[in-house]
Every structure is written in structure tokens, then in C-alpha cells.
């Protein structure tokens, strides 16, 4: 579904990603680990097409189409969606309005579907509030997910969906991520794919990831089994990944 070749990205005059090679297949869930400032959010933002992330070299192929030069909304309409880690407050645009706009774009899903999504994430009391205005960390995560439910993208990116979420809510968050990634279906029948950033890997106790990448200093270091990689990181730290890569 997604292929990234030799991707180098600048933000202003700073290189944030370098020679990144990555692929995510249909039905696959991929985790992305890395320390603070390693380039995790930059990678998701570049895939999404957020302005300010200037691709200097390489390309991004989505469903066989080179989307490197496409605008953010064009990518969204092709089926890429993202739950932001720190989304902005959008005064005046109510969560419910946003849900309706997203649903309409999918071909007119009804008001019942909008309400069902809102109820699924226990956001009833937030539906008529401006998006993210006064939301707590956990509420922001749920608000992001409910918008993705309405948008229903084919390739879904989650930027630290577990940060700031309490133990009760993490079940709910994971349940919706699993739904977005069609985890209820057998692996061969899934059409959706996902990329999850997780700092500590908590969400992976609830969402099964097929593979993981480690990113540091804007470079992807290795790819492997998420649990094994997490264990290694816990024991050896991220520095261990660097030395491991060097040994390879």
C-alpha cells in the first residue's frame, strides 16, 4: 500500500529525515519506535503532506501512485488519514460539524452513523464543542479517533495514540484503532493498513503490530518483530539499535 524510497526531508534548513526506505503492505500494521526528536512525527507528517516538510530527495508511493508532490487534502482524499499527537484548537468548528463533513465526503453516511461514532468514543458531551478547545490529553486522542472513524481512511497513521491516556481509556482507544485497521478480519482479508508511533509501546499490548521500525536522528535503523525490538530497546536502549545496525 505504501512505499517510501530514499526519502530525505528538510524542515527549514534542518534535515529531519534521511534516506528513509519503508514499506507497508495491505492489511499490515507497522509500529515506529524512536527517542524524542528522532523523526517519528516528521515521517508521519511527510507522508500526510503537511506543509513545511520539504522533500529534498526520494518519493512516496501510495497505492501505486507517486504522491510526493500532492497536497495534504489530495492525499486525504486518496485514503490517507492521521491522528495527530498535538492537533490545534479550531475555534468555531464543532466536533460534530467535522464529523458530518468527513462522513459527507465518504458518500453521505447518515446522522445515525455520526452519532454512533460519537457514542463509541464517549464523546457525547464534546460533540458541540469547538474541536480540541479545552480537551484533555485523553480527550484529544479520542477526538482524533472519532474523526478518523468518520473519515475511514485506507492507510491510517497514529501519532502516539497512548500518550496521556488513562488505563481505562486505553482499552477504548485500542478497540477503535483495531476497528480502523480491520483487526476483526483475518489477516488476508484486511484492506486497511496502519502506522503507529508509540513511545513506550503500551498501545501494542492491545493492538497487534506485524512489524516495527526504529528511527533515530532521521534514519530508519532496523525493522523487525515489534516485541523483540521493544525488548532490545528496554535492555540496551536506542543506542543498542545503532550498534546493532553497525554490526549488520
Amino acid at each position: 500500500m505504501l512505499e517510501i524510497h530514499d526519502l530525505t526531508v528538510m524542515v527549514q534548513n534542518r534535515r529531519v529525515l534521511q534516506n528513509v526506505e519503508m514499506h507497508v503492505s495491505n492489511g499490515e500494521t507497522v509500529a515506529l519506535f524512536g527517542p524524542n526528536g528522532s523523526g517519528k512525527t516528521s515521517l508521519l507528517s511527510t507522508i500526510m503532506g503537511v506543509p513545511g516538510y520539504r522533500v529534498e530527495r526520494g518519493n512516496i508511493i501510495f497505492k501505486g501512485e507517486d504522491i510526493t508532490g500532492l497536497a495534504i487534502d489530495e492525499r486525504a482524499r486518496l485514503g490517507i488519514g492521521m491522528a495527530f499527537q498535538r492537533p490545534p484548537v479550531v475555534r468555531g468548528v464543532k466536533l460534530m460539524d467535522m464529523m458530518r463533513i468527513c462522513m459527507d465526503r465518504r458518500g453521505g453516511a447518515g446522522e445515525i452513523d455520526v452519532r454512533r461514532c460519537i457514542e463509541k468514543l464517549n464523546l457525547g458531551e464534546f460533540q458541540d464543542r469547538d474541536i480540541n478547545l479545552g480537551f484533555s490529553g485523553g480527550e484529544i486522542k479520542r477526538s482524533e479517533l472519532v474523526q478518523l472513524l468518520a473519515q475511514d481512511p485506507d492507510f491510517v497513521m497514529f501519532d502516539e495514540p497512548d500518550s496521556g491516556v488513562d488505563l481505562v481509556s486505553i482499552h477504548l482507544v485500542a478497540k477503535v484503532i483495531n476497528e480502523l485497521l480491520e483487526k476483526e478480519k483475518s489477516a488476508g482479508r484486511r484492506t486497511k493498513a496502519g502506522l503507529i508511533i508509540s513511545h513506550a509501546g503500551h498501545i501494542l499490548d492491545y493492538v497487534n503490530a506485524d512489524r516495527a521500525y526504529v528511527i533515530m536522528g532521521g534514519n530508519l535503523y532496523c525493522s523487525g518483530n515489534p516485541r523483540d525490538l521493544l525488548e532490545d530497546i528496554k535492555v540496551k536502549g536506542y543506542e543498542g539499535c545503532i550498534s546493532c545496525q553497525r554490526q549488520n
Binding site: P51, D73, M82, F84, V90
Partner: protein
């Protein structure tokens, strides 16, 4: 004050510039206008006139209106009442019918305030008188249209609106010109009286032409437990608009709310404020304005004056700049004259944050759609106490702004 004394006072102020806004040469505008014949109902209006009046909230069918008043230039072509407990007529007839009305005229606004109030007294003028009798609950709004049909003319208007004790009155007023009218001067003096336990909601929609000069002069007196809610919307081009309506909470627990929504196109200057004097314990005021510029200049003013303890008042002024041109100058003022007042304000001016647009674009909206969604939200002021049909009318007027074609 006798008629002679009023005229004398007005004469002294004939050349007195307004404290705010550019000074206008009144001699550049003619007060002469032909007389227009009365009509049976608004559906009898000629096409353009009907269309323009509908753009400022008039309902030509009059089915959902408690009364209608229509004035072209200086001629009152219709004044009708569809409900008991309500009076709708020209101010000239009302002054003949009610001796006591002289006490209300030039009571809230001084005739020598400036050259515009003076002109309203000295030159040919007309206006509406609308009154809800004691205890009358006027379910549907009364509509009033002030229409200018001649290019280069000055329309002087003096209105008086009274909600007697316990009465409830909703009004929608639209001011507009014929589509062939380019320039002109509109001077509108309006005095509102909200008696004990009464309420007036007043929604005013302006749709002028690009060279119009507009000088409304409005004031409201609100007695014990009274409510005065004013909504002012001007989304279309106007050369120069200056107004600073003022309300006085004189009775305990009186409530005043001003909502102002402005959109300044390139070439338009709007200097609009709302002022509330809180003169009685328990009185409350809320002044909210939304200023939007696409190249025009806006002064968004607000002034709250707390004169007694135990009052509560809030001022909120937000401005959004849609282009590199144009200015928004927010001037919020709070004046506590005694301790133990609860007064606050917030003001913010800026352009739409790109981060917000990108965020909405990540959900699939184009840049224009994202901007429109944010602008719509920006203008969507929550109006408490307005009947549903008036709220619909107000939202329609807001969305009918010229930006509609570009953004909405």
C-alpha cells in the same frame, strides 16, 4: 423640551462633527425625494425592491410577522399590525396620536450630539414607532424596512420602540438601497425603552451600496428585570459606517446583550462599538463582536461602565483578517467606577492559523473549504433569547455576505 428649544439646540450642533468617524459634508446629499404611494402588502413591491428588502430579512408574505413597516426615502408605504397589543405606525402619526410621546423623543439621545442628530431634527425625516402594550407577548417579530431609492440622497430617520411593562417584543429591521443607488447618507436615530419585566430583541441587518455613508445613533433604556438584546449584522460593502449604540441598565437585574457581526470589504470603513452603562445592582451586560476584513478597515469598539456594585459585564471582541490588506483595530474598554464590580474583556485579532487549515485539509477539505469552515464557525455567535425564526434569518444574512461566493 419644547419643539422650538429642540430646534434651537439642533441648530447649534448643525456643524458639530461626531466624536468618531470621518466628518461628512452633509450638503453633498439632498434630502429631497418624491412621494411614494402606499401599498397593500409587501408582495406588491416592485421586483428589485422586494428582492433587496428580502436580503435584509423582510418577509414579503408577512405570514410569520406580527407587524410590518416599510419606508421608502421619506414615505411610509406600509404600516400594518397582525396582532393585538401592538402598535406599528410612522413616528409622525404616533406623535399626533400620543401626546406623551414627546417625552420619549430625544430623551435617550441628545439632539445636539452631533451634526447627524441635528440633521435628523432639522431636515425632513420620518421613522417608525413600534410599541408592545403592557403584558403583550408578541410571538412573531415585527419587521421594519428603511429603503433608499434615490442616488445621492440623505435619508433621516427617527425611530422609537417601546416595550411596556411585562411586554415581549421581537424586531427585525433591514436597511438597504435600490440596486441602482450607489451613494447616499443614512442617518438613523433609534430610541428603545424596555420597561419593567419587559424585553426587546432587535435584529438589524444592513445591506448598503459601496458609496453609502451610514450614521446610526441608537440608545436603549432598560428598567428592572428588563432585557435588551441587539444583533447588528453588516456583511456587504459600505463606504463609511460609524455607530456606537449605548444602553443604560437603570433597573435592578436589567440585562443587555449586544452582538455585532461585521465584514469589511476593500474600500469599506466600519467603526462600530457597543456601550453599556450598568447603573443598577444585579444588572448584567455582554458585548460580543466578530469583525472580518477582506481589505476594509474596522474599528471594533466596546465600552462597559460599572457604576454600582454587584454588576457583571463581559466584552469579547474577535477579529479575523482574510487578506494582507485591511485593518482591524479592537478597542475594548472597561470602566469600574466602584469596587465590587465583575467586569472582563477578551480581544484577539489575527489571521487564520495555517496549522488549523492544514489540520482540516488532513481530513480531506480543500484549502478554501477549510477556510470557509473556520470563517463560518467564527461568525457563528451563540445568541441567547432570540426566537428560532429570527436566528435563522440572522444566520441567512451572515451567510449571504459576499464572501459567500468565494468561501462558503
Amino acid at each position: 423640551m419644547s419643539e422650538t428649544e429642540l430646534k434651537e439646540q439642533a441648530k447649534k450642533a448643525e456643524k458639530k462633527p461626531s466624536a468618531l468617524g470621518i466628518d461628512i459634508d452633509l450638503n453633498a446629499y439632498s434630502v429631497k425625494a418624491e412621494k411614494h404611494e402606499k401599498i397593500d402588502g409587501l408582495n406588491a413591491l416592485p421586483g428589485d425592491m422586494k428582492k433587496r428588502s428580502e436580503s435584509v430579512g423582510m418577509d414579503a408574505d408577512e405570514t410569520c410577522r406580527a407587524g410590518s413597516y416599510f419606508q421608502i426615502d421619506h414615505s411610509v408605504i406600509q404600516s400594518a399590525v397582525c396582532q393585538s397589543g401592538l402598535e406599528v405606525m410612522s413616528i409622525s402619526n404616533a406623535l399626533k396620536e400620543h401626546d406623551w410621546l414627546e417625552d420619549y423623543r430625544w430623551n435617550m439621545i441628545k439632539v445636539d450630539t452631533d451634526k447627524y442628530t441635528a440633521q435628523a431634527e432639522l431636515k425632513e425625516s420620518e421613522g417608525y414607532f413600534i410599541r408592545a402594550l403592557p403584558g403583550a407577548k408578541v410571538e412573531f417579530p415585527v419587521q421594519a424596512c428603511l429603503y433608499m431609492s434615490r442616488d445621492g440622497m440623505a435619508q433621516n430617520v427617527h425611530n422609537i420602540v417601546i416595550a411596556e411593562e411585562g411586554a415581549e417584543l421581537h424586531m427585525i429591521t433591514g436597511c438597504t438601497t435600490g440596486s441602482a443607488v450607489m451613494s447616499g447618507l443614512h442617518v438613523g436615530v433609534s430610541e428603545f425603552y424596555v420597561k419593567k419585566n419587559a424585553q426587546i430583541t432587535f435584529t438589524m441587518i444592513h445591506n448598503w451600496s459601496e458609496e453609502m455613508i451610514v450614521r446610526p445613533r441608537s440608545a436603549a433604556l432598560v428598567e428592572e428585570n428588563g432585557l435588551f438584546l441587539s444583533n447588528y449584522i453588516c456583511m456587504k460593502p459600505v463606504k463609511n459606517l460609524q455607530t456606537y449604540p449605548t444602553a443604560y441598565c437603570v433597573g435592578e437585574n436589567a440585562i443587555v446583550r449586544f452582538n455585532t457581526i461585521l465584514f469589511a470589504h476593500e474600500g469599506s470603513t466600519m467603526d462600530v462599538g457597543s456601550r453599556v452603562y450598568l447603573k443598577a445592582r444585579g444588572s448584567r451586560a455582554e458585548v460580543i463582536s466578530r469583525a472580518l476584513t477582506d481589505g476594509g478597515d474596522i474599528f471594533a469598539r466596546g465600552h462597559l461602565i460599572g457604576e454600582v456594585p454587584e454588576i457583571k459585564a463581559h466584552l469579547e471582541c474577535r477579529g479575523l483578517m482574510l487578506s494582507e490588506k485591511g485593518t482591524i483595530h479592537a478597542v475594548p474598554e472597561l470602566e469600574g467606577r466602584v469596587p465590587n464590580v465583575d467586569m472582563s474583556h477578551e480581544a484577539a485579532v489575527g489571521k487564520i492559523a495555517e496549522e488549523e487549515i492544514h489540520y482540516l485539509m488532513a481530513r480531506g477539505l480543500s484549502s478554501d473549504e477549510a477556510t470557509a469552515a473556520i470563517v463560518r464557525g467564527f461568525l457563528d455567535v451563540e445568541i441567547k433569547g432570540l426566537p428560532a425564526n429570527l436566528e435563522r434569518e440572522m444566520k441567512r444574512a451572515i451567510r449571504a455576505g459576499d464572501m459567500n461566493e468565494r468561501l462558503m
